[in-house]
Amino acid sequence: MKEIAISVENLTVRFGDSVVLNNINLNVFKGEILVILGGSGCGKSTLLKHMIGLYEPEKGRVIINGIDIINADENKLRELRKDIGVLFQSSALIGSMTVYENIALPLREYTGLSDDAIERLVRIKLAMVGLLGYEIYLPSELSGGMKKRAGIARAIALDPTILFFDEPSAGLDPITAAELDLLIKNINNGIGTTMVVVTHELESIFNIAHRVIMLEKEEKGIIAEGDPYILRKESKDPRVRNFFNRHIPEHLYQKT
């Protein structure tokens, strides 16, 4: 039995009157890349934001490395946060700081190393994501792909054991997106980081996923789980096959 890194138990999410996710149960194992997928509006990003503890759920628990992130006290949470890195959809680099300062920020806050040591560490992170030479650039001066790379460098600044990615390849050209997939895979191979990726780019899914779960809007929950290659061929659920084969449901064909 593989070791569990994150477990989501009976998670129910409600915004106002509408239930977005209903009774989700999910385990993420150490060292795997789990991809959360589904059509727009099915609650992928919402699930991710609950897994990193940004939102509080209506019901249920999220346990990361044995710590219940919803009920843990501040100190425990702070310790846990060191172990988690997140790449946000818009990279969320701090606009008033250079790339260098953005990556140095968590290192300064959590390590108490000398400036020289921090500089070396920042460089090594930049070397990992292929952004050396852009230290003094402001985020607004970077292209979309470079911003994502800088975001990843910041996310891995403290060598977390778990990384979350919210739509890493959204809005990127195919080559940049493929490079980013490769980077994600390399980090996973190299450091053995557990990864949770939210995406709906088929290409990425087949490239990086060890395992996928698929969410569905109507069901408000998980409708499929497993290896994407197998799901594409053998799933009994037409919604799952349609998703993997880019197939438009029959009833939408009527007009054409």
Binding site: I124, A127, I156, G190
Partner: protein, 376 residues
């Protein structure tokens, strides 16, 4: 040695080559220790060859990888062979993640050289002059557009004008009223303390009304509108620039100044004279409260004295002033908004700058009015 520490064991002779056995955690917490260890190896021992044994390493993160890379890099520089043994698959994977050539090349100064003091003064001064030029250009351009839209009234977005009139005028009335009321109250009270000594309480109504109508009414209103409305315009348009909404307007064939700035300027132009008059009235009412309750003036005397002091000419010039301020405040607010390029930080700067610039120019223009009006 606790398991969280970084440890090492050095075997062999410097001339014959060293074997360094590392143990424990090669991680961020121990990074400073590793760096000083690296310095020691090369300065104290000066080995002829180096073998780094990772057998007892329990954990290695990217700081550890960095350490190993730097050991290899140093050895290469010193011209001695360096070998790393007993590396696990994960450790090798981590090392391979790093683009070493780029890392080694990157040790160059990346900080921009700062300007010296005199250069900075010059730089700032040129920026200041440019800024004045830009504002004058923008306001000139806007006035042309306003006049040209006056000839084609249907081209003005009247719905927007009404919305902004409500936002900047009606919604701003309570604060304008309150501040003016208190101002009139304070003025009457403070002046009466002095005038009482001479038995000249009867001049309080004239003092309040003349001061308000000629100077303070338009100025106070302008300050409040600059703070409420000018800043809002800068923030709104600035955010639209960040979101590429302004670009979208241009592509759809709209002139952003006509679409965004003209309705705002019109709205403030229409509403400012009313706000100014309200401000005057509230201040006079504040003076009235003090006069009647505190100074033994009758209601009739107070009103009569006020009416006697007010001249139509003063009211008209005060309204002209307020319209001028309106154009300047709204124009500067919009201009600062358009100056934003692409970051959230710039929106903040633009908002602050909209208020500060507007206040500065209001005072400047007001003193020009004072000089000109004294000759009429």
């Amino acid at each position: 040695m606790s398991s969280n520490d970084f440890g090492f064991d050095i075997k062999g002779l410097a001339e014959a080559g060293l074997t360094v056995s590392l143990s424990g955690r090669l991680s961020v917490e121990n990074f400073d220790k590793m760096l000083s260890f690296r310095g020691d190896i090369f300065s104290k021992y000066k080995p002829s060859s180096l073998v780094i044994d990772l057998k007892d390493v329990t954990y290695m993160d990217s700081a550890g990888a960095l350490f190993l890379i730097e050991m290899e890099y140093e050895s290469k520089k010193e011209g001695i062979p360096c070998e790393i043994t007993n590396m696990t698959k994960e450790q090798r994977g981590l090392l391979e993640l790093i683009d070493r050539d780029a890392y080694e090349k990157s040790f160059q100064v990346t900080k921009k050289a700062g300007l010296n003091f005199i250069e900075q003064i010059g730089h700032e001064f040129i920026k200041f002059l440019d800024d004045i030029k830009n504002i004058i250009t923008f306001i000139g351009m806007m006035i042309i557009k306003i006049i040209s839209s006056l000839f084609r009234l249907s081209s003005i977005r009247w719905n927007d004008v009404l919305t902004y009139m409500k936002k900047s005028g009606v919604d701003g009335l309570p604060i304008v009223g309150l501040i003016s009321f208190l101002l009139g109250l304070i003025m009457a009270f403070m002046s009466s303390l002095q005038l009482k000594q001479f038995g000249a309480n009867i001049y309080v109504p004239a003092l309040v009304s003349i001061a308000m109508i000629k100077e303070l009414g338009p100025i106070m209103t302008a300050i409040i509108v600059a703070g409420r409305t000018g800043s809002a315009f800068a923030a709104e348009i600035g955010t639209m620039k960040v979101n590429e909404e302004v670009d979208a307007l241009i592509v759809m064939g709209f002139d952003p100044i006509k679409f965004l700035a003209v309705p705002r300027v019109f709205a403030v132009m229409f509403i400012m004279p009313f706000l100014t008059i309200f401000s005057d009235l509230f201040a006079i009412f504040g003076g009235f409260v003090v006069g009647v309750l505190g100074l033994d003036l009758t209601v009739h005397t107070y009103i009569q004295q006020t009416m006697k002091a007010i001249k139509i000419f003063d009211i008209i010039t005060s309204l002209i002033k307020s319209v001028t301020f309106a154009v300047l405040i709204a124009g500067i607010g919009c201009h600062r908004g358009f100056e934003v390029k692409h970051s959230a930080e710039e929106v903040g700067t633009a908002t602050t700058s909209a208020v500060v610039t507007a206040l500065f120019i209001i005072i400047l223009v007001d003193s020009m009015f004072a000089v000109v009006l004294s000759y009429i």
